[in-house]
């Protein structure tokens, strides 16, 4: 047929040509489709979007479903990574140079002080975000089956976060850094038998000196980073595999609810169901629930969740930038082992333990206390086998958790704000002995 020429578009844009080229297709494996399939395919075929499931429960779109604490922690980590790399350009982990580098950073490096401020406040915020993330997960009972092990990984990530913060504390090599780390590392020697050896191993000698600075530096920038990425990969991978607890349809089928199911059980012989779907088959799951997924209550992660995450990420960036502009990170005099400041306080997240030392034997306060606490957190999902996530079914767990949490918080507040020279009681409005 002569007249049935191909109705080719008049002029194919260069963009379209690029998109149709073999090279482009080998890189980007999905066509730019404006259809549900296009969106699903894009999330499915893009490694960056692949961190997300294609669809997420609609309930997750509410900010208060998770308070985005895990995501905020991740964003803070990214900020710390970027600012940390910048700081590494100007920092030498040597006792003779470290403090001078800090001063150079302050006075001569472009945005040096701002970057250092952002790194400092971001680190404190990340400790807070991680702790609140843990609290949120506990409150929602999201550590229960099948997510028990991911909770353990999460506790590991929290320990890594504290480790980051603690090792980073020493690096400015000023009085604050020196004595806070001295107090913190002194706790280690109370471990029965191996305490002294452990402290030596950590510090590379009996006292905090060049060896300790280098070790802390290497642990801070390399060892913990490797550990963090490994644990984070597992944490996210399991999150993707197990699905989110928020909006989990299992909740609707909670066994403890014992709701009388009016409908007969579904069998392969049940062909059509009320919602227009038919039964393709019935799958036996031997252990664990498998995945219950009801897409009727789900939305596409891209763009719905992604947009929300972008907003949160921008807000976090704005917050740390504002803090960095408004508040200077402290830098005291050069570290002096011969001049002990009064009081010498541990970093604020360990100051609760320091306060405990004032009341109990060091073995109990410095070793058993934190040891049991971490062990209890790790063991929590295996001790608490109550499958229900509803608060009214978990009174005991809640009472225990909140008692410990509030106790630790009170000790931290007293240690940080109400203690002065000689660890004596001082009202913070009279004199505040606290530097973050």
């Amino acid at each position: 047929m002569a007249d049935s020429g191909t109705p080719e578009p008049k002029s194919r844009s260069w963009r379209r040509r690029v998109q149709e080229s073999a090279v482009y297709r080998s890189v980007v494996r999905t066509p730019p489709l404006d259809s549900p399939r296009g969106r699903a395919q894009r999330a499915f075929g893009n490694v960056f979007l692949h961190v997300y499931p294609v669809r997420v429960p609609r309930a997750l779109l509410r900010f208060r479903s998770t308070w985005r604490l895990g995501f905020i922690s991740t964003v803070l980590y990214a900020i710390l990574l970027i600012t940390g790399v910048y700081l590494m350009f100007f920092y030498t982990p040597a006792v003779t140079m470290a403090y001078g580098d800090m001063q150079t950073l302050r006075s001569q490096v472009g945005f040096g002080q701002l970057i250092r401020n952002v790194h400092r406040w971001g680190a404190h915020l990340m400790v807070l975000a991680v702790v609140f993330h843990l609290v949120r997960v506990f409150v929602d009972g999201a550590y229960k089956a099948p997510r028990q092990f991911n909770w353990v990984i999460g506790v590991g990530l929290m320990v890594v976060t504290l480790g980051y913060s603690f090792t980073g504390y020493l690096l400015p090599w000023d009085q604050l850094a020196y004595w806070a780390v001295t107090v913190g590392s002194d706790l280690v020697q109370y471990v029965p038998g191996v305490g002294g050896w452990m402290r030596n191993f950590l510090l590379g000698g009996g006292t905090i000196g060049q060896a300790a600075l280098l070790r802390f530096y290497v642990i801070h920038v390399a060892v913990l980073t490797a550990a963090f990425f490994l644990l984070m990969a597992i944490h996210l991978w399991r999150l993707r595999k197990d699905g989110l607890a928020v909006g989990d349809p299992l909740e609707a089928h909670d066994v403890t609810e014992r709701a009388v199911e009016a409908l007969p059980p579904i069998t392969p012989e049940t062909v059509w169901l009320a919602n227009g779907k038919r039964v393709l088959g019935v799958v036996e799951t031997e252990d664990g629930p498998g995945h219950v997924r009801e897409p009727e209550n789900e939305v596409f992660a891209w763009p719905h969740l992604l947009v929300r995450h972008q907003v949160v990420a921008l807000a976090v960036c704005a917050l740390v930038l504002a803090l960095g502009v408004a508040f200077e990170a402290p830098l005291r005099e050069l570290a002096n082992p011969n001049l002990t400041p009064e009081p010498a306080k541990a970093p604020w997240y360990f100051v609760g333990l320091q306060e405990l030392l004032a009341h109990f034997d060091p073995l109990i306060a410095g070793v058993l206390g934190p040891g049991v606490l971490v062990a209890a957190l790790v063991a929590l999902p295996y001790i608490d086998r109550n499958p229900s996530r509803r608060p009214e079914h978990r009174r005991i767990a809640n009472v225990v958790f909140w008692t410990l949490f509030i106790a630790l918080a009170v000790l931290t507040v007293i240690g940080a704000l109400f203690r002065g020279p000689g660890w004596g009681f001082v009202l913070p409005w009279e004199h505040l002995y606290f530097e973050p």
Binding site: R25, T30, L33, G38, Q41, V255, R293
Partner: protein
């Protein structure tokens, strides 16, 4: 690689086996639209034509005027709008149909014509039902004589459907092709006038009545008998004859015309009336702007009054659009109170419709008589339904008739006389063209079975039929099939329309191919192996249409248990993402096997299903 085909018996299951694609299920003659659309998408136009032709001797006619129940059933309509299946069929027919002048090409899909060694069968009426039956009867080896009272064969296809909708060359070609099979068509032979029904029964072993519904219904309102009131079927018949022969007096003169009715006949009548008034009788081909201006000056107008609201008319939206484009004003939601006039019609009094159906669900419009309006006019055309004229059966008491003139038939379309069958509108009441073709085929199958005395249908010669190509899997991810909008059918510019120029144009081959690529491939059925499934729900996650769910079979599943994978055939777009993602190969699609027509009794194997299955994932 997993041989899914070998496993489909045991490991895989859960399909509604053998269910045809909705388009095929929607087609009264069971045309495998899914297959020919898929073939066209691959550019296999000739093969696609064979599939379209196989179940329908009037493929080319249907490509232009079918009511396309396939499109109403098309699942693509759930996503955006259905595939233009009818227009695609026209693409195939324009390339290979009978109108191309090669009757043997037309025959290819149904095989060779056997010698007329069987019984002699008489068919009364050469409409779609009669000719479709003649086609099938002749293929089964019977001698067939068709009796037609008019000057040409085709029935309502010729005397009901206007030429601007169905080009006569196409109709003539397909009728000629049927005649070339050895079907004897006796024109100008009216039963009861030229030959009696009793004589027919002597001549033939069996007789098939397919006389249709040729009589317009009368309006039950005052003034319906006035001069100037005519019925749409009569009006269309006269106009179609006049335009076909390019001779004769115009049926309606200048002035305002009111068409009463909201169906396709009403629209045909309205658009024909517009053409009659716009063009001089002997110069049907010169209708240009001049004619339009003249028409406005002379006070001509065509108004269509329908009881249904304009948005709820049964005709497709394109039809309404074209009619209004041409200048027909459509007033939906009005019923006729009475027709005004003394010696002849001067107007129609109408009132808004309050409700269309009564408490029993019957069509019985209630009018709001307080707000009546008068539409001044000098011609009224009634298109409010048709009925059959079977007075020639008055002397044949063995055949029971219905009060509306139709013939009583049983399930096998046999009348109360064991040697007489009836099909089409005369048996079913007014229906669509494709229903008439299907009825003719059913009657033919029933007659063949009865005449052979076997109770089964003699198998046809194995036709050259093609199955749909399997869904292209990997490449489907790159194709934008779900993102293509429905093609808009090209139409003749309104100012260039005349009495017989075809309004709707054909798609180009390439356009047709793009439109065909929109097909979701509902002939591909989801297969699932519960044994392989590990309940990871990744398929549910990736499904862009929310077509899958994984739910517990009972209330509690925390301690292990069973889960049911649910699937919604209606929303699935067969993108194959679930198949691609499944880590254990528990899901895949298989083509539904090619089958005989669902409407017929067993018709013999049409073709062995041998479509090769390509496994979804390599390795």
């Amino acid at each position: 690689m997993i041989d899914h085909a070998a496993e489909s018996g045991g490991d895989f299951g859960g399909t509604v086996q053998g269910t045809p694609a909705p388009c095929r299920g929607g087609c009264p003659v069971g045309t495998d639209a899914a297959a020919y659309v898929a073939l066209l998408a691959e550019g296999r136009v000739a093969d696609a034509y064979d599939v379209a032709r196989q179940h329908n001797p009037f493929a080319s006619v249907c490509g232009r005027v079918c009511s396309a129940p396939c499109e109403r059933a098309c699942r693509r309509g759930v996503v955006d709008s259905p595939i233009s299946i009818r227009a695609l069929k026209r693409v195939l027919c324009d390339a290979h149909g009978a109108e191309q002048g090669d009757a043997s090409r037309w025959m290819r899909a149904v095989g060779s014509i056997p010698p007329a060694s069987g019984s002699s069968i008489g068919v009364i009426g050469s409409g779609p039902a009669g000719l479709a039956a003649a086609h099938d009867l002749r293929l089964a080896g019977h001698a067939v004589t068709v009796y037609e009272s008019m000057d040409a064969a085709g029935g309502m296809m010729r005397y009901g459907i206007p030429a601007f909708r169905l080009v006569r060359d196409v109709l003539d070609a397909e009728i000629a092709a049927i005649a070339s099979m050895g079907v004897d068509v006796q024109l100008r032979c009216a039963i009861g006038r030229d030959v009696s029904f009793a004589q027919l029964l002597e001549r033939h072993a069996a007789v098939l009545l397919t006389v249709g519904c040729q009589q317009g219904r009368q309006l039950r309102a005052p003034g319906a008998e006035l001069p100037g009131v005519m019925r749409a079927v009569d009006f269309l018949r006269k106009e179609n004859v006049r335009f076909d022969e390019a001779a004769g007096e115009a049926t309606i003169g200048d002035g305002a015309v009111v068409i009463i009715g909201g169906g396709s006949v009403a629209f045909d009548a309205a658009r024909s009336a517009w053409r009659t008034q716009s063009m001089s009788a002997y110069d049907a081909r010169t209708a240009l702007d001049a004619a339009r201006s003249a028409r406005r000056a002379s006070g001509n107008s065509v108004t269509l009054v329908a009881p249904e609201a304009t948005s709820k008319l049964s005709v497709p939206p394109e039809e309404l659009h074209e009619a209004t484009t041409e200048g027909v004003s459509v007033r939906g939601g009005f019923g006729v109170v009475r027709i005004l006039g003394d010696a002849c019609v001067t107007g129609v009094e109408v009132a808004p419709v309050l409700s269309l159906f009564d408490a029993d669900g019957r069509f019985n419009p209630q009018l709001d008589l307080d707000t009546r309006t008068v539409l001044a006019c000098n011609t009224v055309v009634l298109a409010i339904g048709q009925q059959s004229d079977t007075d020639f059966l008055a002397d044949t008491p063995s055949i029971s008739r219905t009060p509306w003139g139709g013939v009583v038939v049983d399930k096998a379309l046999r009348t109360t006389d064991p040697r007489v069958w009836a099909a089409g509108d005369v048996a079913s009441g007014p229906r669509d063209l494709i229903d008439a073709i299907a009825a003719g085929q059913r009657a033919a199958a029933s007659m063949i079975a009865s005449l052979s005395g076997e109770g089964t249908v003699r198998p046809r010669p194995a036709p050259a039929v093609h199955t749909a190509p399997p869904m292209p899997r990997g490449t489907r991810f790159w194709s934008g099939y779900d993102d293509i909008r429905r093609v808009e059918l090209p139409v003749l510019q309104p100012e260039r329309r005349d009495a017989v120029a075809e309004v709707e144009h054909a798609l180009h081959n390439a356009e047709g191919q793009i439109e065909a690529a929109r097909c979701l491939r509902c002939d591909e059925h989801m297969q699932f192996s519960p044994r392989r499934c590990i309940a990871c729900a990744l398929c549910v996650d990736v499904c862009p249409q929310s077509s899958l769910s994984l739910i517990p079979t009972t209330g509690g599943v925390l301690a292990g248990g069973t889960l049911a994978l649910l699937f919604d055939d209606d929303t699935c777009i067969r993108c194959g993402l679930c198949v691609h993602r499944c880590p254990t190969d528990a899901l895949h699609f298989t083509l539904s096997p090619a089958q005989s027509r669902p409407v017929l009794p067993e018709r013999g194997a049409i073709a062995a299903w041998s479509a090769p299955l390509t496994p979804n994932i390599d390795g």
